[in-house]
């Protein structure tokens, strides 16, 4: 029976593919994936990978994918942190805090994400002045309608070595600070760590001097129409990340609250009977147990977040969806492009799901 079903499915897919191919040929529409290696020629407004319009369509997809992953990673990270705060606030005994968190969740869950994104984009592009009248709250930092410009690190020869050595020394300095003051009072600990960090700064500055100061700061400057140099947080990226984080945090907050509420009341009572503080009970007893309940719904929330990143096209952030749209228009190869997008999102979702399942198996109650 199952074999017959499988056979039927294979035949059906075969029939679909055959028809598609026949119809496409009949209408003189090119098929195939060889366009992937031709130069893309269209611009991508911002990317975390280096992209030039002379790169291939394939690379354009990769750049779009990298933007999607970066966006997904940051919004999941921020939304989880914010969601934890929201979830704990909703359970707070303080009525003002719990009411506020309740309103936050209700409002955000009931307004469509696309509307929220357009709202944030409207704010990002109307709050700040034009570049010539940019706000300058800190030296080297400029706020304008074109985004937030801040000084960026410039790396000269020997810079990577210096940064690696500095990072290792910093870890050693902090660990040493704690070790030396082990068992002492908190204030002594802080003083000890502070002292070793000061020492670290002196050593790193000295080391940098020996290498001829390879690491510098490049401040953005107004040249012609726009700021050049430095690093920039564009209004497009800022609005999509803000919108996604805040929207998702409302759902995550509810998942976390639900998880905590689902832990038996006896666990709290047991903790109190042992004389533990409320905070200790929460972080040492309740949350670890709540995790088992939280992880499965959290997985689907993370998957939704990844899929929601495609709404970034509405505010002009070039994630994979926007790149695919553009490629379809430039090449007319809609079927191939959509197949690639389907494959990519399927792999991302399956990877996220696989990771979360692995994590779930780790935190699950081990029954012997």
């Amino acid at each position: 029976m199952q074999i017959a079903l499988l056979g039927g499915l294979v035949l059906f897919v075969w029939w679909l593919a055959g028809n598609t191919h026949e119809n496409l040929t009949e209408r003189g529409i090119r098929t195939g994936f060889d366009y992937l290696w031709r130069p893309a020629r269209f611009p991508i407004s911002e990317s975390i990978l280096r992209y030039d319009a002379s790169d291939s369509f394939f690379w354009a997809y990769v750049v779009g994918l990298a933007n999607t992953l970066w966006l997904s990673f940051l919004s999941i990270l921020f939304a989880t942190l914010l969601g934890l705060v929201v979830g704990l606030s909703r359970r707070s005994a303080h009525p003002l805090l719990s009411r506020f968190a309740g309103t936050y969740v209700t409002v955000l869950r009931n307004v469509p994400l696309i509307v929220q994104l357009l709202f944030w984009y409207a704010i990002a592009t109307s709050l700040f002045p034009v570049p010539r009248e940019a706000l300058n709250p800190l030296p080297g930092v400029f706020l304008s309608i074109r985004g937030v410009y801040a000084p960026a690190l410039t790396l000269g020869p020997g810079a990577s070595m210096l940064l690696i050595v500095a990072a290792i020394l910093l870890v050693i300095a902090i660990v040493a600070g704690f070790k030396l003051s082990a068992g002492k009072r908190l204030s002594v600990k802080a003083a000890s760590v502070g002292l070793s960090v000061c020492l670290w700064v002196a050593v790193v500055v000295g080391l940098s001097g020996m290498l001829g100061h390879p690491v510098g700061l490049e401040a953005p400057a107004l040249k012609g129409l726009n700021f050049r140099g430095g690093m920039v947080l564009s209004p497009e990226f800022a609005s999509i990340i803000t919108g996604l984080t805040i929207y998702t945090s409302a759902f995550i907050g509810e998942i976390i609250r639900g998880g905590i509420d689902a832990v038996e009341k006896g666990q709290w009572e047991g903790g109190r009977a042992l004389g533990l503080s409320e905070r200790h009970i929460m972080f040492r007893i309740i949350l670890p147990q709540a995790l088992r309940i939280i992880v499965p719904p959290m997985t689907s929330q993370y998957l939704s977040t990844v899929k929601n990143t495609t709404l970034a096209v509405a505010v002009g952030y070039p994630e994979l969806g926007l790149v695919v749209n553009t490629v379809i228009n430039q090449t007319g190869q809609a079927i191939e492009s959509i197949l690639i997008m389907l494959a990519v999102f399927l792999s991302i979702s399956l990877s996220v799901s696989a990771f979360m399942n692995w994590y779930n198996a780790r935190v699950a109650l081990v029954v012997r």
Partner: protein, 340 residues
Amino acid sequence: MTCKTTLTAMAVIAAFATPAFAQSTSTLDTVKERGRLICGSSQGTPGFGAPDDNGYWRGLDVETCRAVAVAVLDDKDAVDFVPLSGQQRIPALQTGEIDMLPRTLTWTLQRDANGINFTTPNYYEFTGFMMPKSLGITSVEDMAGASVCVQTGSTTEVVVNDVSTKNDLDLQPVVFDNTTAGRQAFFSGRCDALITDAGALASVRATMADNPDDYVIFPATPYMDALTPAVRHGDDQWLDIVTWSIQAMIAAEAFGLTSENIDDYLDSDDPRIRRFLGTDPGNGAALGLSDDFAYRIVKSVGNYAEVYDRNVGMDSPLKLERGYNALFNDGGLMFPLAFQ
């Protein structure tokens, strides 16, 4: 947005995956049987294609459809308009959702080679930049570092890159999927410049700017684009009908025929005009239409000059000069083919 594009693409896949359906009947028969012509149109570019206050579609491209509807169905209002985004338009034509696509569509080799056929240009223009006059920039060379609002689904995406590379300008594109969002971003000051077809820029300036005189439009490249209505690949008769319906308006202007005076020419002695009007038969029948199709187009829609002036020219808010869209003997590129 993406969702819509994905749906369109899914529809494309679905449509192609079903056994060949409309291939046996010609588009002409389909349109006649349906009694309506279905036209792809823009999502709102006044002057070229947009509904007016009463919901009646007006514009240069819209009238191209009306001309075909007159030729085939003898009724300029027997047209349904389907608003399509830049990415949706070509798949919509290929899958048979629309019968013809007159939507500020640039005739390019890649599009021509890939499943659609172009008819005859109904508008020539350059790709332009629009910038606020206050920036004091009036040519491409001075634009170094400018950020440019670009809409995806158009040839301008490639133009903005070509211009930037060629003149070493380091233009910073901000690409929008949604036409309106891109235009609003420009007016809010997110970008220094907006790039698209010059006619569309004039349309945006006339309809969206608080004070149209505050904005300047200049060419982005030295090249002209031929905006050309397209039809599906593989139906030569339909290709001819759309081509010659557009040509009828251009030829009428060359002959000096207008919707007002055309009846005076019905007994003309000029053999060329007699053939054009169908007084001497043959032309219409060759296309599978009635012999007076050109007469009916001019009578109810008008000649090219009338259509131009009313929609984008001096009688419209866009106030565009004829320029390259004048007839060949006035220094333009509009050239009537021989109606014989």
